[in-house]
Amino acid sequence: MTVYIIRRILQLIPVLLGVTVLVFLLMHLTPGNPAQLMAGENAPPEMVAQIENRLGLNDPLPVQYFDYVVGVVQGDLGTSMRYNTPVIDEVAPRFWVTIELALYATVLSIFLGLIAGIISAVRQYSVADVSIMIVALFGLSMPNFWLGLMLMQWFSINLGWFPPTGWGSPEQILLPVITLGTAGAAIIARMTRSSMLEVISQDYIRTARAKGVKERIIIYKHALKNALIPVVTVVGLQFGALLAGAVLTEEVFAINGMGRLLVDSIMNRDFPVVQACILIISVVFVVVNLLVDISYKFLNKRIDLND
């Protein structure tokens, strides 16, 4: 177990290095000079050159990259070119907002998705099953910014039940979380359904029935634990998709999260902030997937993690 975790963490290093290389190159190869941007459009060339020099923008790319990575390892994500403040101060508060949003949305999608999926599987081809699958298909096909706008239109503007924007109070949280969690709930519901259906036809379910176990216990004890194994994978992947979806959701509901910060920074060519955002999102994604893999161990005793 420990060997496995250590090996997985070691494997993270090249992945993360790769991410930094990609982000770094992408930002430097896009047109537009950040020094010019910082100095202002009409600034004299000497001033631009001075800024370039200070930021090390004249150094060869590998040197710039090396400096960057060394900084990151020491916890220094650089200085925002736009606000002239340490990037970490810009990113940190917004990071927690986004994580909160994504976590709530994940909890919502797991909760709804599991219940809907189990009902669907247990009552295969019933009215409930067909309705759930139709709703799930809608949930899956709807772009979340559109869903967000519709929810806002109905519940905030027409009915006035919820505030249309912002983040913090329970009323403010509900609509964005539904917006972001719906697609995930739909995917999890479909996955749970098919996984449950497969498990229910397994030999060991018949064994449990032959023992005289009640149908309800067969579903929740014998079938669900096995059916969850593929569902957990989906939840892990879904969390990544949620981070991406958060960008749009935050825009729609004007939430000051990392998604908005990322979009703003790209607009402003604020390299260090963009790099920091992408790096953090990548780390979160990779760590979540590691947690998913480890949680297999608790669900499925057959996976020998040392192999």
Binding site: V3, I6, R7, L10, N306, D307
Partner: protein, 346 residues
């Protein structure tokens, strides 16, 4: 025996499958599926390899066709060393070397009609000129007991027994010399199994085919084989002609195996030798004789010395068993070291 032509000669065949592990994913150990196996098959005979799961019988069959690349040893087929051939030469060689698998459905392309399947086999091996192929397909279908017009159907339209016949037709389509039958009749119901077995025997008589028959059903093996090889944990424990193996088994494992078969005759008294426990793992097989952990006759010597295949004077020619004590057991001089046998009451 000596004037017979050697068709397949296997020397010191080893097939190890590596197990990866540790932080760096290095090979930490090997599954010794086949460990130093040698035997010869003569033209026109049927040799069966028997044994329980994990004994290496299927791996041996796969190695002969180079479906896996053996770790060590030589496989000489009709005078050619198969392991020295490159891929292209090996493909050519497969014209003479065919295999029939246990699950005919899995080994037939579901999107190809039987005609396409047979055509493809002949095409790859260029065994039959193009203009003769349709006649040949009709002939093959009839030979294996199917209607020629059924050739335009897809595998799913046939029953299990019929699909196995198609598998046989495909193997026969290229006029092979040797057919490896890997559990070829194991999945079939007994009434259909008998049809297929009779068919295989008929072809052997007509075309002087050679079969390497891999099976766990000893009734089938007794019926079809000229000679039998008994394997246990990657090694040959006994080899001999069918009559000697069934009527005068020498190795304690062969005896236990034969005694374990339920006999379809409720009035027959049989002495059953019950083996303790399960077959050990082929990853770290027992030292010395691999059977010593379960053998009723085992001694300290068995745990230390690897027994060679030996033929004692009272045994028939070509009958050999890998046990230190065959002669002593036969004469009653060496008695069981643990209690394992039991007479079934009727």
């Amino acid at each position: 025996m000596s004037q017979k032509k050697e068709l397949l000669k296997i020397n010191n065949l080893k097939q190890y499958f590596p197990i990866k592990g540790g932080v760096l994913g290095r090979t930490v150990n090997n599954v010794k599926a086949v460990d130093d196996v040698s035997f010869t098959i003569y033209e026109g005979e049927t040799v069966s390899v028997v044994g329980e799961s994990g004994c290496g019988k299927s791996t041996t069959g796969r190695a002969i066709l180079r479906l896996d690349d053996p770790t060590d040893g030589t496989i000489e087929f009709d005078g050619t060393d198969l392991l020295s051939l490159n891929k292209k030469e090996m493909r050519k060689m497969r014209k003479d070397l065919q295999i029939i698998f246990q699950d005919p459905y899995a080994s037939l392309n579901p999107r190809m009609t039987v005609r396409q399947t047979l055509n493809e086999a002949m095409e790859i091996q260029s065994a039959v000129p193009r203009d003769e192929r349709n006649d040949r397909i009709a002939e093959l279908m009839e030979t294996v007991g199917l209607q020629p017009h059924q050739a335009d159907r897809f595998p799913h339209e046939f029953s299990g027994g019929q699909r196995q016949r198609i598998g046989i037709a495909r193997a026969l389509s290229v006029n092979p010399k040797l057919i490896v039958c890997d559990e070829a009749v194991s999945a079939l119901d007994v009434s259909i199994q008998a049809q297929v077995l009779n068919l295989l025997k008929k072809f052997q008589n007509e075309w002087n085919l050679t079969y390497l028959f891999i099976a766990h059903d000893l009734g089938v093996v007794r019926h079809i084989s000229d000679r039998i090889i008994v394997m246990y944990l990657g090694k040959i424990v006994e080899i001999g002609d069918t009559k000697s193996i069934f009527e005068n088994p020498q190795h304690p494992y062969t005896k236990a195996l034969l005694s374990a078969i339920p006999v379809p005759d409720p009035e027959k008294k049989t002495e059953r030798i019950f083996l303790q426990g399960d077959v050990p793992s082929p990853i770290d097989p027992p030292t010395g004789c691999r059977f010593h952990t379960r053998c009723p006759f085992a001694t300290d010597k068995c745990a230390e010395e690897v027994p060679e295949l030996r033929n004692e004077d009272y045994m028939t020619d070509g009958h050999a068993a890998a046990c230190h004590y065959i002669k002593a057991i036969e004469s009653g001089e060496h008695q069981p070291t643990r209690e394992t046998s039991k007479v079934r009451d009727v």
